[in-house]
Amino acid sequence: MLTVENLHKSFGGVNAINGIDLKFDAGTLTAIIGPNGAGKTSFFNLITGAFAPDQGRILFGTDDIAGLSSPDIVKRGIGRAFQIASIFPSLTVRETILGAVNAHRGWHTKLRRRFPLGEANAQADEVMELVGLTAKADKLSGNLSHGDQKLLDIALALALEPRVLLLDEPTAGMGPEERWQMIDTVHKLWQRKQMTLIFIEHDMDIVFKYAQTIRVLSYGAVLAEGKPDEIRNHPKVIEAYLGTAYEKGRG
Amino acid sequence: MDPQALLTCLSTASCVITQTTGGLISGMLLFLVAAGLSLIFGTLKVVNFMHGSLYMLGAYFAYTLYTATGNFTIAVVGAALGVGLFGLVFERLFMSRVYNTDVLMQLLVCYGFILILDDAVKIIWGAEFLSMGMPAAFQRPPIMIAGGILPVYYLFLIGVTLGVALLLGLLLTRTRAGKIVRAAAVNPTMTSALGINTALVFGGVFALGGLLAGLSGALAAPVRSMVAGMGFSILIESFIVTVIGGMGSIGGALVGALLIGLVRSFGTIGFPLFTEGVMFLFMTLVLITKPSGLFGKEH
């Protein structure tokens, strides 16, 4: 579904991404882990066209999407949500999602037809239902709680009916209970929509419980990849990353 | 349009010299105003749209001080300090309240002050044109160079302005205060985290900007007639200068001001109706090709 070959990117002489080769099969649920500064978010940025890679290919299906603009890449079916919820504060939840639905269907520059269009409305309802925001449909996005804003951010990506969904730390900044709720919602989404889901996560309990496969990044390169059990016992991973963070997470 | 007249002027040394000196002093006065505007933008990321009014205040302050004391030095220094103080008060009481709102609110506060000050000047000094007259020390025959006229006061004005430009450059690059100002321009939260009082820095920058504009107005008083609203055209021109030179760049302001001064001076001969047009043409071209200005840093 998504294949990355020999990806390189440097910012002002610093190699953020230093030769990544990865393959994500259709319908899989993958976690990306790694210490801070490992290049996880940069990796997402390259895939979604926020920056063009210096070198390397990004194959979506069989097309090389490296260097395309973000709107072009999004339109092909790669959605993303952000570490810090990226929403539209002065629009209501429903308006926000309707806007995303319209963008997805190419209606976003229609001057004549009015909201709410029956079809768009139905899809927006479905998306709100999926993430559990139906009751807050008419609230201003900017007034939502932190967790709900993260959900809305994911809902925006879902409105695009993506085949690949990239979530950058869906549980960032949440309390323990909220985290499990969030990851549960994400997991259900993945099951219902049968898409390829890749998420960045720091909480190792969550990662080991939910991810089918794990990719470990360190210094802009792939340190290890495999099933949770393999990663748990991978000597390099323990040395570079788990040794500190995992213990801390437990303690 | 009169390209013929421009060519004739350019082919005679006397006309070139007269127009160049005229353009130079316009440019120098403009530089003082534009440098403050640029400094304020560079540090606070705020366009002080009432900067022209500070220039006007400087001229009127100088007029009053000069008629009261008869001493030109007191008039110039007093006017510059007075306007600097005014700038500080304006920043602390009004401008500082709209930093975190959008640019339109800043525009509005400045516009309100332009209107208020123009009317205040009319009430205090009257609506008629005022002229301060040339101070006695400079009432001597102009220097003639190849038939071109160079009044003594022009030399003085150019000297003072260049001195100020030099001092300003040294202040910003060599002193601790200057380094703080430049640091605050790059990252205001960082500087306040380092324990530097940003309110003091911002107020100080406004005071300095006001001082420069007031100095410009005071130096202009002997050679320009005064009227309420006189700050308008200098605001527009210094705005063009800062955009061309690069917002935040003092060197850029100097180059831009001289350029615009010369355009104005030679434009009145060659294209009197389109001098402003040429300035805006410059501004448009610079913004299109290098939005941060000829000497500005990209960010």
Binding site: S69, S70, P71, V74, R80, F82, S86, I87, F88, S90, L91, E95, T96, G99, A100, N102, A103, H104, W107, H108, T109, K110, L111, R112, R113, R114, F115, G118, L156, A159, L160 | V47, F94, T101, D102, V103, L104, M105, L107, L108, V109, Y111, G112, I114, L115, I116, D119, A120, K122, I123, I236, V243, L273, F274, G277, F280, L281, L287, I288, P291
Partner: protein, 319 residues
């Protein structure tokens, strides 16, 4: 949703009816003159708010289109002797073309630089008008009057007909813009104002939407100028001066930037203020300056914005 479209049409028709009846209550020429100026400024300010309030594009140079509309319409009427409807449509076309070119250049720039460049373009037009004396009459404005030949039984040289015409253009223009901000495009504009980067990751080509908004706003801005040139039967360089943009910005902020009818309310307020204050005191600037400061420092939501906000709060409190 169909029903709300009909409701809007009914409201627009009612507004038109009220405008037609008002001269019976206020029969004087002063009133109809006021309303004609109001229609020009309300359309102009509302069109600017499409950029400033809805798309987050802070244009300092919207007066470009006010001047362009006035001059292209007046010149077409004067020099080409076309009929009013033809000149009207041609003015819209010219403005759309100019807005496309100017907009494509300006929207590449970020934030304050966008504002500067729009201002520069406006002042360029102003300079051209001043300098191109043979065509424009320079700083004296167009002399000789704008001919207003009758069309379809409408005689715009008759003040009553002009009043009705301007009222109709006002209602139709506001109706179209209202419709626009409720359309999918209107939602996209607001999304871009709030968070352009996120909009990109939803597949929106942000520059296209901004350009389209710029063109639409330019077209309606020019219609404001057109009405003014019909009213004064001339066109003046001041129409393209930056103060025109400044007044429109002020109208928007007085009425309320976040409300569709804010600029309309602001236009009423500023024009009334003009008339009243100049009658009461000779210190017009002083008064206006103080009022401006009050809005900038105290009433940032604008009058209509504040009223709606207070009403919402009361309703929320009652529940």
């Amino acid at each position: 949703m169909r029903s709300t479209v009909w409701l809007d049409i009914v409201i627009a028709a009612a507004a038109m009816a009220v405008l037609l009846l008002l001269p019976l209550v206020f029969p004087g020429k002063a009133f109809s003159d006021f309303m004609i100026r109001l229609s020009a400024f309300a359309i102009f300010a509302t069109s600017l708010n499409l950029l400033v309030g809805y798309t987050g594009l802070v244009s300092f140079g919207h007066g470009l289109f006010y001047g362009l509309g006035a001059y292209s319409f007046a010149l077409m009427m004067q020099k080409l002797g076309t009929s009013i409807p033809v000149a009207f449509i041609a003015t819209v076309g010219v403005s759309a073309a100019v807005a496309t070119v100017v907009g494509a250049i300006c929207i590449r720039l970020k934030e304050i630089y966008f504002s500067f460049l729009t201002l520069a373009f406006q002042m360029l037009l102003h300079s051209v008008i001043i300098a191109w004396t043979p065509l424009t009459g320079g700083d004296q404005g167009l002399t000789g009057g704008v001919p207003r030949p009758p069309f379809l039984g409408i005689r715009l040289d008759d003040p009553q007909h002009l009043y009705i015409f301007c009222s109709a253009v006002l209602v139709v223009s506001l109706y179209i813009m209202w419709h626009l901000v409720r359309s999918p495009f209107g939602y996209t504009m607001r999304m871009i104002r709030d968070n352009p980067r996120r909009a990109e990751f939803l597949g929106v080509r942000v520059w296209r939407v901004r350009l389209l908004a710029f063109v639409v706003a330019g077209v309606f801005g020019s219609i404001g100028g057109l009405l003014m040139s019909l009213f004064v039967s001339s066109a003046y360089p001041d129409f393209a001066y930056w103060t025109v943009s400044g007044e429109a910005v002020f109208m928007i902020l007085m009425g309320g930037i976040s409300v569709f009818f804010g600029p309309l309310v602001g236009a009423v307020m500023l024009l009334l203020l003009n008339d009243v204050v100049t009658r009461v005191t000779e210190h017009y600037s002083l008064m206006l300056g103080i009022i401006i400061l009050c809005f900038a420092l105290g009433l940032r939501k604008g009058l209509l914005g504040f009223v709606l906000w207070a009403w919402e709060r009361r309703r929320a409190g009652a529940q």
